[in-house]
Amino acid sequence: MMNTPFFELRNITKYFSKVVANKDVSFSIEKGEVLALLGENGAGKSTTMKILYGLYRADSGEIIMEGVERKINSPKDAMALGISMIQQHFSLVPAHTVTENIILGNVHGRIDRKGCEREIGELARTYGFDIDPKALVKDLSVGVQQKVEILKALYLKARLLIMDEPTAVLTPQESENLMQFVHEFTAHGNSVIIITHKLKEVMAVADRIVVMRNGEVHGDLKCSDTDEKELSRLMIGRDLIPSKRAEDDESADNHEVRLEFDNTSVVERDQVPRLKDISFSIHRGEIFGIAGVSGNGQQELCEVICGALSPSSGRILLDGEDITRLTIRERIDRGIGYVPADRHKDGLVMDMSLAENMMLKASYGKKWMHHGLLDTNALNNYTNTLIKEYEIKAPGPEAIAKGLSGGNQQKVIVAREVDNGSKLIIFDQPTRGLDLGAIDYVHKTIFAERAKGKSILLISTDLSEIFTLSNRIAVLYKGVIQGIFKRSELTTEKIGLLMAGYDVNKGCTDER
C-alpha cells in the first residue's frame, strides 16, 4: 500500500495572471490518512486543492490516482473519482431543504423525495449527525450547515474529502466534534485533506503535514516527527517573535470613559432582536474585546457605532456627547475609525487606486484640494509615506487595490482608519485571512494606537487574538452580552461555553 499512494500530485504549476500560485508542487496522500495542508494565506494551498478538485486547471503537472494518471477537468470528473471538496464559503441553497441540497445535481427525472429523505436521514445517523433532512438550510446554524456539506460528500460516496479552513466558523466544541468525525471517516480507509493555517489544529488531527510557502512545498513531515515551532518556521520562513501580551494594567479602568453604550437595542418589528440591551463602556487607552461566533450581532454592533444602523432604543455616547442620531459623516469627523470585517464590500473600492482609497473618508474635507481641484501629487506623496510606514507591498500609490494581496489590502484600510480614528478605532475581524506576518503587524499597530490613548473595540472570532490583545472581554451571543470579564478571569473553556449560549453558572440561557 505504501508504494502506490491513493492520490499523488506531481510537479503541479499554476500561474494566475500576474502571480505564480503553485510552483512544482508534489505530494501524495495515502488511504486512511489525514493530511494537513499548512501555509499562510496566499501560499497556494487552496489553489492546489482547487486543481485537484477540477475547479482550476494546472498549467503543467500531473495528477495520479492509484498509479494511473487522471485528467480532472471539472468537479464532476473529481466527484467521479471520489473526491469531494468543502469550500470555505459553503455552496448551499439557503431556501432549499437539507435533502434538496444534497441531491442537487445528482438526480434525474422524477424525484422520490420520501426515499431520498429516508436515505439521507440514515446516512446522518450512521455518522452521528443530528440533522433533520426536511429542515431548510437557512434555518440551520453554520456548524450544522457544514455538516450538511459533509453529508453531501458522503452521499456522493467520497473517498477523499478536502476541507478548506473547516474550523474558521465553528465554536471550540463544534470543532472538536468535527475532528472526531474526521478520525471516524479515515478509520474506514478514506482520506481527508484539511487546508488550514492553524497550528494547534494541525497537531491535533493530522497524520502528515505538507507545508506550503509562496506556492511551493517547503516541508512534508510526519506529525509525530515535528512540533509547532518547526512548522511555524517552515510556514513563514523565519522565527516569529510574538507580539507582547497586553500588560494587565488595571489602571485603564481609572481613565475617562470614551465610548458608552446605554441600553442599546436593535429590534425590527416582530423580529428577534439583533442587539438587545447592550450596555458597556470603553475607557481611554483600553482594548475592549468582543468574542463570539460570527453572526451573533457583531456586525450590528459596529454599524450602530459608526452610524450605518440606528438603534431602536438606547443611547450611544462618545466622550459624553450623545451621538445616537448623528450621521456616519459626523461620526467620522468626531474621530471614529472603523476597520470592517468585510473589507472588499465595506472597506475598499477595489477598482480604484490606493491613493484614491486613502481619501475615501476625506472626500468632503479640504485636505486634498488645491485651487478647487484634487491635489493628486499631495495625495500620492501621502500614500507613499503610508506605504513605506506600513510596509505595504505595492508598486506605488497608483496601484489598483484589487491587485494587492489580502494582507496588504488590510494594511491599507488599517493605515487609513488609524489616521481617521483619532478617538476610537473599531477593528472587526482585523486579521481574518491574513498571514502571520501581517497579523503580527496589525497587532503591533493596535497596541501602538492604544498606547497613544485611543480606545480600541476589537471584535474577533479568533480567541487567541482576543486573549492576546484585550484588556477586557465581552462575549456576544444572539445579540446579548453574556458577560464582561477581565482577561484574567476567563479560560478558553469558559469562553467557549459562553459563546455557545451557556451561562457558565446557570446552564443554558437560550430560551428562544
Binding site: 500561474y15 495572471s17 500576474k18 502571480v19 505564480v20 459608526c306 452610524g307 450605518a308 450621521t327 456616519i328 459623516r329 459626523e330 461620526r331 467620522i332 472603523y338 470592517p340 464590500k345 465595506d346 472597506g347 475598499l348 473600492v349 477595489m350 477598482d351 480604484m352 484614491e356 481619501m359 475615501l360 473618508k361 472626500s363 468632503y364 486634498w368 484640494m369 478647487g372 481641484l373 484634487l374 493628486t376
Partner: protein, 353 residues
C-alpha cells in the same frame, strides 16, 4: 511609446479595419463591389470643405449624447433616456429662442438659452435619480420610459403653442439668424457648438477625475457599500449624477436647434440617444475617447449618405458598419487585457529565472 499605448492604438485600428472588412462582405452579398463602395465612402468625405466640415457637425450632438450616457455609467447607473433629454433640451432651446430673439443682443440671448436648456434638461434628468433615491425605482426603466413622455410632450407642443404661424405643419417658426450659433468656417455649417462639445467633454473628464464630486460619484459607482460606510450620501449623488447627465443630453438639443436646424420639427433626429450609447461604449466611457469615437461615427454618417446616393447601396449599410466596428472594438478590450496578462507573465518568468 510604452507597450500599453501601443496595444491601444494597434488593437483599435485593427478593430476598425475588421469592422469594415465584415461590412465589405455584406456589400459583396448585395452584388456590389466593396472596393468601389469604400472608395466612394472615403473619397467623398474629403471631396470638399463643406462635406468635411459636415463630419464635425454630425459629431457634435453625438458627443453630448455619449457623454450623457458615460457620465452616469461611471456611477454604475444606466441613463438610456438621452433621447428624451435631448428632446426636452431642444424644446427649451426653441421656446426660449423664439421668446428671447429680438429682445436682446444675440450673444446674450444665446448665453441665457444655453443656461435655460442646461437647467431644464438637468431637472428633467434628475427626476430619474430622484425616484431611484426615494423609491428605489429602476433607473434603467424610468429613463427609458421618460423618453416616450418627452416625445409626447414635444409632439403636443408642436401642434399647439409652438406650432408655426401658418398652422400647417407640426413644426415651429424658424429662428432669427440672431440666435443661431455662429459658424466658424466660412462656407460650411460647422458652428461653435462643436467647440463647446469638445470643451464640455474635457470638462466632464476634469469633473470625474479631478474634483471631489466626481470622485464621490465614481466611488458610489464602484462600491456603494464602501461609499456609505465612508459617509457618502449615495442617494444625493444619484440625483446629482442624473442632473448632469440630463443636462449633457439637453445640450445636444441646444446645438442641434440653434446650430443646425434653426427650428424644431416633429420626428427630429430620432437616433441621437441610441448612437450616443454606442459611442460611449466604443470609447469605454472615457470622455476624451468619446470625442474621437463621435467623429468616427460622424464620418461614417456623412460618407455613408453620399455612398448611398452614388453607388446605389442602401445607406443603412452604414449602421451595419457602425455595429460591426463596435463589436470589434469591444472584443479588442479582451484582446488587450490578454496581451497585458501575457506581458506580466513573461516579466514574471524573467524574474523567476
Amino acid at each position: 511609446m510604452n507597450a500599453k499605448m501601443r496595444d491601444l492604438l494597434v488593437t483599435n485600428f485593427l478593430a476598425i479595419f475588421l469592422g469594415l472588412t465584415a461590412s465589405a462582405l455584406m456589400i459583396l452579398f448585395l452584388g456590389k463591389n466593396p472596393n468601389d463602395a469604400f472608395g466612394i465612402l472615403f473619397s467623398s468625405m474629403f471631396r470638399d470643405k463643406y462635406t468635411f466640415a459636415e463630419i464635425f457637425v454630425k459629431a457634435t450632438p453625438l458627443i453630448f449624447a455619449a457623454l450623457s450616457f458615460a457620465f452616469t455609467f461611471k456611477a454604475n447607473l444606466y441613463n438610456i433616456g438621452a433621447q428624451g433629454q435631448f428632446y426636452i433640451g431642444a424644446l427649451i432651446a426653441t421656446a426660449s429662442s423664439l421668446f428671447l430673439q429680438g429682445r436682446m443682443p444675440g450673444p446674450l440671448a444665446l448665453v441665457i438659452i444655453f443656461m435655460l436648456t442646461l437647467i431644464g434638461g438637468g431637472i428633467w434628468g434628475s427626476f430619474i435619480g430622484f425616484v431611484k433615491a426615494k423609491y428605489n425605482a429602476n433607473e434603467f426603466l424610468v429613463s427609458m420610459m421618460s423618453t416616450y413622455v418627452a416625445l409626447a410632450i414635444m409632439n403636443y407642443l408642436l401642434r399647439t403653442v409652438l406650432m408655426e404661424t401658418k398652422h400647417e405643419y407640426p413644426q415651429t417658426n424658424a429662428l432669427d439668424t440672431q440666435v443661431w450659433l455662429p459658424s466658424f468656417i466660412q462656407g460650411t455649417r460647422l458652428h461653435i457648438g462643436f467647440i463647446l462639445a469638445v470643451a464640455v467633454a474635457i470638462g466632464v473628464w476634469i469633473l470625474l477625475y479631478k474634483t471631489t464630486l466626481g470622485y464621490r460619484i465614481r466611488v458610489v459607482g464602484y462600491n456603494s457599500d464602501a461609499a456609505r460606510m465612508s459617509g457618502i450620501d449615495a442617494n444625493r449623488l444619484y440625483v446629482v449624477a442624473f442632473f448632469i447627465s440630463g443636462a449633457l443630453a439637453a445640450m445636444a438639443g441646444f446645438t442641434e436647434v440653434n446650430g443646425v436646424q434653426h427650428m424644431l420639427l416633429q420626428g427630429f433626429n430620432p437616433d441621437i440617444g441610441a448612437a450616443g450609447l454606442g459611442i460611449a461604449i466604443l470609447a469605454n466611457a472615457n470622455p476624451i475617447g468619446i470625442i474621437f469615437a463621435a467623429i468616427l461615427f460622424g464620418a461614417l454618417n456623412v460618407g455613408g449618405t453620399i455612398m448611398g446616393q452614388m453607388s446605389g447601396i442602401p445607406s443603412s449599410i452604414i449602421e451595419l458598419m457602425q455595429g460591426f466596428v463596435m463589436v470589434f472594438v469591444i472584443l479588442s478590450y479582451f484582446v488587450r487585457s490578454e496581451l497585458e496578462t501575457r506581458r506580466a507573465k513573461r516579466m514574471l518568468a524573467v524574474e523567476n529565472d
